[in-house]
Structure formats: C-alpha cells, structure tokens
Symmetry: D2
Subunit: 343 residues, 4 copies
Amino acid sequence: MYHFRNDYSFGAHPRVLQALSATNLEGNPGYGEDSYSARARELIRAACGCPEAAVAFLVGGTQTNATACSFLLRPWESALCPVSGHLNGHESGAFEGTGHKILPVPADASGKISTRDLEPLVIQHRDPHLTRPGLVYLSDATENGGVYTKDELTALSDFCRANGLFLFVDGARLGCALTSPANDLALPDLARLCDAFSIGGTKNGALFGEALVFPRPALAEEFFRMQKRMGAVLAKGWLIGVQFEALFVDGLYFDLARHADEMARRLQDGLRSLGWTLWVDSPTNQVFVIVPNALLPRLDAVCTYEVWCPYDASRTVVRLVTCFQTSPADVDGLLTSLPLLPV
Amino acid sequence: MYHFRNDYSFGAHPRVLQALSATNLEGNPGYGEDSYSARARELIRAACGCPEAAVAFLVGGTQTNATACSFLLRPWESALCPVSGHLNGHESGAFEGTGHKILPVPADASGKISTRDLEPLVIQHRDPHLTRPGLVYLSDATENGGVYTKDELTALSDFCRANGLFLFVDGARLGCALTSPANDLALPDLARLCDAFSIGGTKNGALFGEALVFPRPALAEEFFRMQKRMGAVLAKGWLIGVQFEALFVDGLYFDLARHADEMARRLQDGLRSLGWTLWVDSPTNQVFVIVPNALLPRLDAVCTYEVWCPYDASRTVVRLVTCFQTSPADVDGLLTSLPLLPV
Amino acid sequence: MYHFRNDYSFGAHPRVLQALSATNLEGNPGYGEDSYSARARELIRAACGCPEAAVAFLVGGTQTNATACSFLLRPWESALCPVSGHLNGHESGAFEGTGHKILPVPADASGKISTRDLEPLVIQHRDPHLTRPGLVYLSDATENGGVYTKDELTALSDFCRANGLFLFVDGARLGCALTSPANDLALPDLARLCDAFSIGGTKNGALFGEALVFPRPALAEEFFRMQKRMGAVLAKGWLIGVQFEALFVDGLYFDLARHADEMARRLQDGLRSLGWTLWVDSPTNQVFVIVPNALLPRLDAVCTYEVWCPYDASRTVVRLVTCFQTSPADVDGLLTSLPLLPV
Amino acid sequence: MYHFRNDYSFGAHPRVLQALSATNLEGNPGYGEDSYSARARELIRAACGCPEAAVAFLVGGTQTNATACSFLLRPWESALCPVSGHLNGHESGAFEGTGHKILPVPADASGKISTRDLEPLVIQHRDPHLTRPGLVYLSDATENGGVYTKDELTALSDFCRANGLFLFVDGARLGCALTSPANDLALPDLARLCDAFSIGGTKNGALFGEALVFPRPALAEEFFRMQKRMGAVLAKGWLIGVQFEALFVDGLYFDLARHADEMARRLQDGLRSLGWTLWVDSPTNQVFVIVPNALLPRLDAVCTYEVWCPYDASRTVVRLVTCFQTSPADVDGLLTSLPLLPV
C-alpha cells in the first residue's frame, strides 16, 4: 500500500526526530523563550535576509491562518481570498469564527489570483456600508499545486500597498513552492513583498509547527498575546524551535521539499506515459489526475489518495501527494500497479 | 540549577518518546482517524468505566478549555469560574474571545469553590437582562494545588444538574489530583459527575496533548467540527494517540503523577523543616512557599521557580513545581542549598 | 425633486405617528413588557394563524438578521445565503461578526435560490472538515424585487427539513412581497414553512422596527437574552409595539405595501412606454432600470435614486424605490421629466 | 400610581416629539447623512468646545457601549470596568460577545473607581500571558447615582494616558451628572479628558438615541463601518439627529436633566424627613432607599420602582428614578402615601 493521501502521513524526518530526542530531558523554559527557538528564529531571519523580522512559532496551519489574519485586521475588515483558498474552503469557518468576512476572489485553474480579480472587489467595497477589505490571503503553493512567480507576487504586493491592504501568504507548502522548477521567488522576496507569511513545517519534515514571519517587526507588536488568546501557544514551545533549527541549519527544509517535488514530477510523467490525464500540471508536490470512476477500485487497492472533486459523470479528480518520505520506489511501484489507458 | 519552574520544562517521558520514535515513519491517517488514537480512546474509556464516552484529543490546555467550554454554551450563556481559575486568570481572554462572559466565583485559599459560592450568582442571574450561567468550570487539581473530594464534587454536580448547568473539569493536572493522598475520586467518578473533563498530558509525561472526555457521547455531537473551527485539530493526530496509549497502557500516567506528588510532599516537608512557611499546604505537585524578599537572590542562584504573587511588603509567594522528571536528588539538592530560617 | 432612493426616506405613516403621539407620556414598562407590545404580538400571531408563535421586536433589519441567524446556529454552523442576499452583501459583515461563515448560493436574476442550488453545497459540506450548513437565509421580497411562490417556498422548506437546516426568511420587505400580484403566499404559509421570519416595519410605514416571528415557540427559548446580548433590545420597547399595533390593527400594513407595489408597477409601465429598458421586471416596490450613462445627469436633476451596478460600459443599472408615501403624482411627475428613448 | 421605576418609562419630551412630527414626511437621506444629524453634530461639537470632534448617533446604551469599546480595542485587549459598571453587570455579556475580557475593578459605594484601584491590575497585566488592558470604562453618573469630580476624572485621564489606556465614559445619564450640584465637570472637560464618551438621549427626553463623541476624530476613522457591522446604524438616521437638535438647540437637554435631579433631591429629602434611610445619598436622578421588607407591599400599592439588591435579612434596597416627566406633585404624592418610620 503506497501512501499518497497527503503530506502529513509520516512523522518527522529522522534528523528532526533525532534533535527532539537529544534535547528531550534537558529542561527548557516554556512558551518559546528557549535558546532553540531563539536560534531557529535567527536561522529563519537569515534565510529571509531580514535580520529584524519577528518570527513566531505556532502548531498548525489553520491555527496560523486564523491567528495571523485576524491579528492583522480590525473588526470591520474582511479578507480577500481565492475561492479555492484554504482559509475559505478547508478550515471549517475558523477565520470567520474570529468575526471577519471573507470576500471570495475568482481564481484560475491553478488556484492563483491576480490584481485583475481583486480590483473590482476593492472598488465595490469603497462603499462604507460594506466591510473594508483589509488583507489579501493567498497560498504558495496553492491548494491546486500552483506557484506564484516573482512578477505575479510583485504585482499583487504593489496592488496591496496602493490599496491599504496587507498581503499574507499561507506557506503551509512554501518549501515545495520555493524549490519548484516553476518558481523564481526566494524567501527574501517574500520578506520584501509580504506583510506576513508562514513557513510550514507540518507538511515538510516536522512533527508539527509553522513559523510565522512578520518582516516588519512593528507590525507584530503584541502578537504573543494574540497567540495566547487564540490558544495557539505551545507550552513546551522549544519543541517547535528544535525542529525548525534542524530543518534550517543546513538547508534540510529545502532538500526535503525539492525531493517531494521531484517525486511528484516523476509521478506525473509516469501517469502521462500510462495515458492518464492530469487535471492540472502541478509544479509542486500535489498531483491531480482525472480517473475514470471504473478505475477507482484499482486505485483503492494500491494506494491511499484523496478524492478531490467530481470531474464529470464518469470521471473523478483524485489527488496524490508526495513528501519527504516518498521514495522513487514508491512512485514506480504505484505506476507499475496502474493500467495503461488509451489516450 | 534545579528545575522547579513548572511541570512543562521537560519533553516526554522516555517510554512516550520511544513510542513516538517507533511509529515515526509508519504512515498513518491524519486528524486522529488512526489506530493509535482509537486504542488510546479505548484505554481512556476503560479507565473511566464509561465505554460509550466520546474522547477527543487536543494539543494544549488553553485551547482545550476555550474549545470545550464554548462548545457547551449558547451565545447568551456565561461560565461560572473560580476567580483564580485558569480560564479566568491565565488564558489571555481566550474564552471571552469566543464571545462568552465569565462570572467570577469567590474561591477558598486552595482555589476551590462550593455550591454556597455559586448559589447567589445563579439566583441573581435569573434576571433575563443578564447572561444565563451555562456551565461551571473548575480545575482539579486547582491552580493553588487543591483537590476536590468526592463529596465536594458530588455536591457541585448535584447543584449543576438541579440548575441546568454543565459541569466542566479542567484536568490539566488531573493525574496529580487523582494520585494525591488528599483525593478520593477516581476517573469513573468524574465520568459520572461531570459533563466533560480533560485529562492533561502536557504536564504529565507527554510532549503535548490533552484528552477531552464527554461521558455522554450525545453531548459531543459535531465536536470535531468545533475543534476544527477553533484551529485545534492536529494534522498528524496520531501523535497524541500514540502518547496517550503509552501513558494509559499500564498505568504510566498515574505512576508519573504519583511520583510528582511525592516529590512535592518531600519538598514541602523539607521546606518546613528548614523553618520556611508554606502559603498553602498543597497535596499535589505545586508547592507554594512564602519567601522573604531578601532570600530571593539565594533562590535565583539554585533553581528556577515562578513568582506567584506578593505576600506582603517584605515577602513573596513563590511557586515550585515537581514533575515526572524531578528526582529525590533534585529535591534534596535544592533543600540543602537553602538556609535554615528562624521559625 | 422626487424621492425614489429607497423606502426609508420618510418617517412613519400618519396613523402610526398619531399612535406614538397619543401614548407618548402615558408611562409604560420598558423592554417590550408593555400592553401595546402584547397586543401587537397578538395581532401578528392572529395574522399568522399561529396563536402560539413567539414574536420579538427589534429595531432594524441588519440587527434582526444577525441576531436571529446567529441565535439559530451553533458555532461550527454556517448560513446558506444567496450571493445577492442582504446578509451576504449589504451588512458589512455583521453576521460573520457573530462568528459564522456564509456559504454563498448562486441566485437567479430575481435574486431567488432553489433547492437545485442548495443541494451540491449541502452534499459537499457533509465533510466534517467543513462547516455544517445550519440554516438557509432568503429574503422575500428579494434584494432584486423578486417574490417566492408557495411552490418554491414549500420546496425549500421541505429541503431544509430533510437536511436539518433551519429556514429563515428576511421579511424587511415582506409586505410588498405578500401584496404583490406575483405572490400566492400568506403569513400563515410563512408560519408553516419557516423556522423564523421577520416582518419589516422600517420600510413599510413605521419609524423603525422589525417583528421577528418564531412559529414554534420552543425554538425561541432564551431569545430575549440573545437580543440583549446583541444590544438589540430597545429600552422604550413599547414604541415598536405601538407602531405594529397601528400597522396590524386593520390591515394598514398590507394597504401601505400594496400601494407601494402599485406605484412601482405604474413606474415600470411608464418607463417601458418611454422606451426605457428594465433590468428585471419587478413585481414589488423596487424598480431596476438600465440607464444610458449620458442620461444619468437628467435623472439626478429630477429624483433621488441609487446606482445599483454597472450594466455595461455605457449603461448603468439604477434602482428606484416606491413606498407608502409615493403618490401617483410623484410617479407621473418623474415620468414626464424623462425623455423618450428609441427602443 | 406614580412612575419611579426608571428614566425610560415615558416617550419623548413634547418639544422633541414635536420636532419629529414636524419633519415626519419631509423625505430625508438615510443613515445619518441628513441635515438634522449634521446640525445636531454641530451643536454637540459646540457644546463640547471641540469643533473637530467626530459624533456618531446610535440607538441604545448597551449597543453604544459594546460598539464603542470593541471599536477601541484589539482582540487581545481587555476593558477595566467597575464591578458595578453597566458594561460588566447589566448588558448580558454584550461586550464579551465582541470577544473581549472585562477586568472588574473594585468600586466605592457610589460606584466610582480611582487610579488606586486600577494600578495593581495594570501592573499585574504587564505579564504577556494575560490580556493587555486597553481601556478604562466608567459611567457618569454611575449606576449608583455617583458623579465624578473634575479632579477625579483628571487623575483617571492622566493615569490612562500614562499607561496607554483609552478612557471611555458611558454617559447614558450624563445630563443628570453634569447638572448635579455635586458636579464640577462640563462637556469641554469630558472632551479634553476622554477618548470617547456618550451623551445619552434615551434617559433624558428622547424616544431613543445616544450621541457618541470622539474628541479626536482620527480615532473615529472607519467607525461607521464598525457601527454597521454591529447592526447599530438606524436606517432613518435623521430621527436621532432631529431629536438631538431639539435637545441641544437651547439647552433643553440640561434643563430636563436638572429637573430630574431636583425631583430626586426633593424625594430624598422627603424620605429622610419620614425617617427612611437612604442606601447612598445620590446627587443625581436615581434614589436608593433601604426599605423594611414588611413595607414593600405599601410601596407596590403606590408606585413603580425597582428592587436593587437585598440589604439584609429584613430589608431591601429599592431604586426610585426621576426623569423629565416627574413632577413635584408626583414626588409629594408618593411621599404622602408613605408612612413615617421611627428613626
């Protein structure tokens, strides 16, 4: 049985687990006031080319999104978010639970939005009887596997600054975005273009943990109280620091992400060779394939996966996800279990 | 330097960490749908003598309290909570952040409340211009180290049922309560007397994790959606299941708690022998001692601790906490570093 | 200058104002505990053929929608609402401010939704990682002037009951809906088919005030506390009771609404005769007309109105609204001021 | 039957009602964009000696408090509020419903707080694990009839500014405070010392309506959206403007308040002459008298009043409130109905 259901099916990368084991009984101050968290923050600041950035550590992605976005907004402000954005579609109303409206923005097939999509909404919401859009949420990689180019993110950032909007990037899969062949962004670009962004650990080698970066620290003032108020402070906070230190000390974070992307590429190439049709051609670690419904039992028998959405009456879009633990043998094993389809 | 600042200064008990390591790269379904979580739930249900109980796993205590209490209430309902209760005093408004008022209840020196304290508030709030009290929150052990007896909890439970109030017990330190010499409650009593209670892992041998028990499963309907909405679902949910399985499989949870209590007893006896004055005589793992301010630097030099509150102009209440990792040598080492005081 | 901007440009109908004046210095208990409110409740119950209904009085429409809808939902539940529904588009996030997500439902040109639109959303949201849809919000008349037929509302009601959804009807313009020639519903139908609905006073002869009807009183339990908690209880509550008594004592409410509808019909017929194009053919008191942009200054000079939305590069949809105070002379005066257009 | 239950038992002062009648069918823009509201704002600004102040109009007191206080705070901030403050004790959790904690501040018998009461709470809450106190709420007159002196309010204002706290004054009964013999404050002092304060119309001659003043308009930016989001914008907003214009055009507001205070003084003097004991000696329009329980039926027979709280086993504190409509004959009539008590 091959694991392709998601990128959080395995625990931590062995080097990360080893770091946790080595420090387990040391005795450390709680709440992220420890030296591991301090070093992890320094490593992240350095990787971002942003020595003054504020870096907070949270446990999971939904928590990070809800906490960061509601932290940035005033009560009458809303978030512009792609219809398919995680904040809008997959978080059980966690963000609205903080009292804010989402303004859904039409997205392209890859899950990306552009200033063209944002502009009419911003103009419409000048009406003081409506919410004021206060931030743009986007994810990189997107929920459909897409990545933003530097030009695209720059245009969005310029638009946000011209319109008094914060730009927040959900980086739950940021590693796979930044190591994708389709990508030309680096962490310092994100630090320059965004007001806040997360660097996901959960889906890239950690047991759990997301780093939240505020390139301009003044914007992060009192964030700790907000985090506490959201139940989002881990008592044994060093656990996240230790993991991010292990991930960032010598580029492990990017090595793991690049590997996942490569496995997804191998899988997509293989599926195409078998005559299977991709729903989107994903440059990151999520693979979306259109499967004839009659073949779903065959798939069930060999791998875990997620049903993404119906494609048409006789076909279904299926998502297969790779991660640090996916081996070429896993990919090839899956491929050899699948039938050749007439193109 | 001896660690007495709190009971979350160390990672996991070695057997818990070992279980995490052994399962690290297995591949498991997310969100607590795995077999470890299923077994851990069964073990907890068995320990509670309550085979039908719903058991949810959350990451931390503040998160658990805010999620459980707001889950149980309607918007116009409030929580009756001891003034010194964690929900009221130590969670940065996380509970009020869900939109509910706290009605502070006077507590005794040990942090406990009784029906005598609740009754006038309940009567006053029959006025429909006020919130309706919807639940009683209490913690066992309390923030001051106190434990409820079976008679006391029964009286509170009876009062709650007679007044349409849910009874929620915050068990962040439930292990140390249940293994205390002052205790005559067992898990099945809690399951019988409460509507929901938590069993804290963070402060008793786990890296993190709280089990939330709803003895009557009908009351827990849709709790998973609530948990998700609160950002309180761990993606790699099996991590909590694995830990609680390790803790409950052969009573490790209680062994660790009993040890912590014994170390606290040893510490309190030793402090008294040295002529130091206890603020309260705690039957659990938190020790509160009145320290002449002039001696605080001496304390700083030998151990970590927490300043609890001023006692008077020249003395301070200091909290020292023991845990599974505290050894008799730690206690004795600390005691031998402290001066004899004139009684 | 003719007033067609909205249906809340004038104060109260003279008979309503007279009732307020006559009772002004009587001395009455506050908060709706007075005899006028009691009588108004009885009149509404009688009109609804629902002697046991709970009837609450609130001040305004946004307040009523946010209070009623959040009252009916648990925190993890969302509201299914037409994209163009007032709750979604015109209330500055008041509903989301209570912590709930809106699931926007595609609506037809008249602003109405059907079970066909609801079904895929309900199916999709069986996923426990998403909010549970808890109610369907719709307005009658809709924001685009449409009215639901008995068949349509019955189908929606059946769907709601089959799917565990409450059905809430925003009746800010219910008078104009029920007196429209396109309508075959009566208040007892609403009482039978809905879980809660409002009867708008503000837009139909009152200074302010909305009656909120819960046909099944058990569902309204503790609503007063909710209303208070939302800042939605008027201290001098009898002011709303007096007004609704005046409106319902001999059918004034329906007379005023019917008049407004007739004035809108007269206006639409006249506009069409002049060769102007209607955006929708509205059976109620809101008229939507497509105006060449070059003619907008002509319109500005003779009447107040609202720009609804752009139609295309050279034309704009304009809304003209009639009310109890609109006279045939107003309509004809406006029409004679407007130019004949080539069809 | 004499009406002393509260100061919202009667409608509007005849001059206010006359103004509403005179303008009833004029046709006015909604949402407070009318000329009456503009003039009322100017009159209030002039009375406050603060030509640049932002002035918003809301419907009721609880709504005004919840909207203003939550507008001024960030999510992790709390409000310091006298235990007996309306925000804490009488609003059914409306403020906590916006997601903020109240830190109750001990108050004196007259319901007033001082910097001495605030300081320890502010110091304690420097701890980043707690909420940050963001504002001080107080009411003038207080719920117990007390008024703040200029010295007292200046000290509180200085303390707030030194500690980064906003100062909000709930002026639901501000008229009776400012016209009390015990008062030495004027509106310009409030404008100088506070960040926001309300001027209550409901309890002093209006049908309803509270003016909310932000002396520094920059602080009020986007308040309209917040008001809308809270369901607190009246569609026919000119109704409040018309009333405040009538109240402020030639000092009617203060004449009515002064009259109410004088009637309360006459009542207190009379009660004392009869040997009745006052609970507090109130300088404003609320009278608190300790009534032997055996006499309550006598009171029931002659007047409406409110039971305030038990005094002891045999006596009850009763509140009697005067207003613009209370006549000397009402007071004397009540007094002659009451028995002489042995002192």
